[in-house]
């Protein structure tokens, strides 16, 4: 098997698995940059997957092939609203942000399965009729060499995810809004003195994390799993959290990390077909993202520092 054939096998698979993780990790960047820890990404993603699937199932007869795309938008909205719980608890009620995130994960898992049983009378949904399919990008996929590697058998959502990362980078680093968001995460009191509404910025950060994680979850459900069960989202949200940290709370870094983790995951699946990887037990490839994240945090792979004010509720006038 030639190296190009191997790349044409691995890279499309990596882009395919990375898309939902990129979106969710970008959500994490918004929340944590504003100073609110978001362990609840997993639950927000799960809620997005749930909404995405039931929306598609409901509208697919009338809307047809466009239904998964509509469903992604509905999921974004639904998870955005759902994330308000985390915002209210951790910003207004000054709950421990990690604990509130854990509660979000519990609640999303319980609520979605409860509703699935209520609506469909069984523990899982049917498969959706219209998925977000892998496509060969017209024109580009015919290019020699790179056409096969970067533009074939990849869903459009992967390209949108990469584009989204660039947009988020621009928003966070090049706009006044981004500066305000980062400032309330680094030094809320200074930001407050400058007239920035800390509470409002943090609410926006958390809600955006819900919106992005919802999109990520819906993409996962509608492009990879195709239905919703209790086990559809199991760890992808935490993988996104890992990507965000491995990417040092930077949108492009998070995207890079998510692509790398997608790569590692696709290796663990496609590895059996590749000569020199066949002999490596797949467990090493599966745990690689988690181990690498720990190493990144300890400084072996470049130091990763969290926003300064992360996890601390802001109380006006308190030093």
């Amino acid at each position: 098997m030639s190296i190009l054939e191997i790349l044409a096998l691995i890279i499309p698979a990596a882009l395919y698995t990375a898309a939902p993780i990129i979106f969710t990790a970008l959500g994490g960047v918004f929340s944590e940059r504003s100073g609110v820890v978001n362990i609840g990404l997993e639950g927000l993603m799960l809620f997005g997957a749930f909404t995405g699937v039931i929306t598609t199932l409901t509208i697919q007869d009338s809307v047809g092939a466009a239904s998964p795309w509509v469903a992604i938008l509905v999921a974004a909205l639904a998870s955005g609203i759902f994330s308000l719980l985390h915002a209210v608890a951790s910003i207004t009620l000054r709950a421990d942000q990690t604990v509130s995130g854990v509660a979000i994960n519990f609640l999303a898992a319980g609520l979605s399965l409860f509703l699935i049983k209520k609506i469909y009378g069984k523990g899982q949904t049917d498969f959706v009729d219209f998925r977000i399919n892998k496509v060969d990008v017209p024109g580009l996929s015919d290019l020699p060499v790179i056409g096969d590697i970067f533009f074939s058998r990849i869903p459009y959502t992967s390209y949108i995810a990469i584009l989204a990362a660039i947009v988020v980078w621009y928003v966070i680093y090049k706009t006044p809004f981004g500066l305000r968001l980062r400032s309330v995460g680094e030094h809320p009191m200074a930001a407050d003195t400058m007239g920035i509404n800390v509470t409002r910025m943090r609410y926006i950060g958390v809600i955006l994390s819900g919106v992005f994680a919802g999109i990520g979850g819906a993409i996962y459900a509608l492009s990879i799993s195709g239905n919703f069960t209790g086990g559809t989202i199991s760890g992808q949200g935490f993988l996104a959290l890992a990507s965000m940290i491995f990417g040092k709370w930077h949108p492009l870094g998070a995207m890079g990390a998510a692509l790398f983790f997608g790569f590692a995951q696709s290796l663990s699946i496609t590895g059996a077909q590749i000569p020199f990887l066949k002999d490596i037990p797949s467990v090493f490839l599966i745990i690689a993202p988690y181990v690498l994240t720990i190493l990144a945090l300890t400084g072996f792979v470049g130091r990763a520092d969290a926003p300064k004010a992360i996890g601390i509720p802001y109380v006006k006038g308190k030093r």
């Binding site: 362990i39 854990v102 399965l113 086990g231 745990i287 300890t298």
Partner: protein, 352 residues
């Protein structure tokens, strides 16, 4: 001042109690909204928790690992650390207990003890990693423990498949001499799977209370958790205490795994997702106000709710996931205790 202290203690009891009641109420409201009969639902729930001797036995059985995982979370909390990795430490402990229980042949009492110790050591070592990384590299323990949960999940599954595989996604069974199960306990509860693990969990609760409240080490641990800088200034070794705290916490979590391995299941399954016991431990510790006695009570509540969920589904047709929702809401309420305090404080002021 005296009054304030009294109030503080009162709030510490009041907040969990109010939260639990609010959680149940919310559950009832969800039942009504979902067109289920809340009376029948709660009737089934309560009878599934403690309606028959068997139900009581099962509730206590489910509470045993919960107590230990709650102690693990609570111990870390008390010393200023958040051990969200109880789930992973539990899995590692579970595997260690099953391995010792299967691979050795020893006299009964010795074998059980060794198997439990193996679980505690394995869980302790797994908990020590984030402690060490926190002490040495200032890495936040929450992230490391989450990552280690996944490492534990996949590595234990792989190890079972490789070395202990008995087929059908299960490991070999442990020897009778390493088992915690008890025909006597099963008989008096009319056929439940109740085992001696509850005694170990209760002893562990006493140990936690003793370490934290009655020893100098415990005082240091709490002091470091409360204010690192002051403790360092007072001559305490902060790094050592952080590592020690995570290790002890991990040991409790590992023993929770032994409850499953030596008690309830007698083997280990190749898991593809988490057991949830480790995460429930967070809810247990929060509701129990990180207090050993409180943790026992809240474990009984959550253990009961979890075991009664199928019966609620069977009798009243309410999906068993309702329990998860109730537990999640209770966590929210306890975590947002600030608001309960504010309201209660306002009431007590008006009363004066």
């Amino acid at each position: 001042m005296q009054n304030l202290l009294k109030n503080e203690r009162l709030f510490n009891i009041l907040v969990p109690v109010i939260s639990a009641i609010l959680g149940m109420l919310a559950g009832a409201i969800i039942m009504v909204l979902g067109n289920y009969d809340p009376v029948a639902g709660f009737e089934a729930l309560f009878s599934g928790m403690f309606g028959t001797p068997k139900a009581i036995g099962e509730t206590i059985r489910a509470a045993s690992p919960l107590i230990l995982s709650g102690l693990a979370v609570g111990f870390a909390f008390k010393t200023g650390l958040f051990n969200i990795g109880v789930e992973g430490q539990l899995l590692v402990g579970w595997l260690a207990s099953v391995w010792v229980g299967y691979a050795f042949e020893l006299p009964a009492v010795l074998h059980v003890t060794l198997s439990i110790l193996a679980a505690a050591v394995a869980g302790g070592l797994w908990g020590m990693i984030p402690g060490y990384l926190k002490a040495k590299f200032k890495v936040h323990e929450v992230i490391v423990t989450i990552m280690l949960n996944y490492v534990a999940l996949y590595v234990t599954a792989d190890l079972i498949k490789r070395y202990l595989y008995a087929g059908n996604e299960k490991s070999y069974r442990i020897h009778e001499s390493a088992s915690l199960s008890s025909p006597f306990l099963s008989q008096i509860t009319e056929g439940s799977r109740l085992h001696w693990g509850i005694m170990i969990a209760l002893i562990a609760a006493v140990i936690m209370w003793f370490i934290l409240e009655k020893t100098a080490t415990g005082y240091e641990l709490k002091s470091v958790g409360y204010n690192q800088h002051a403790s360092m200034y007072a001559g305490m070794n902060v790094s050592k205490n952080v590592i020690l705290s995570m290790t002890i916490s991990g040991a409790f979590a590992g023993m929770a795994g032994a409850m499953e391995g030596l008690g309830t299941f007698q083997n280990m399954t190749v898991l593809s997702s988490f057991t949830g016991t480790g995460f429930d431990g967070i809810a247990v510790a929060l509701l129990g106000a990180n207090n050993a006695f409180g943790i026992i009570l809240s474990s009984l509540l959550f253990g009961g709710l979890n075991t009664a969920a199928p019966q609620m589904n069977f009798d009243a047709n309410v999906p068993s996931e309702l329990i998860k929702i109730i537990i999640a809401l209770i966590i929210f309420f306890v975590a947002s205790g600030y608001i309960i305090r504010v309201i209660a404080a306002r009431f007590s002021k008006e009363g004066k």
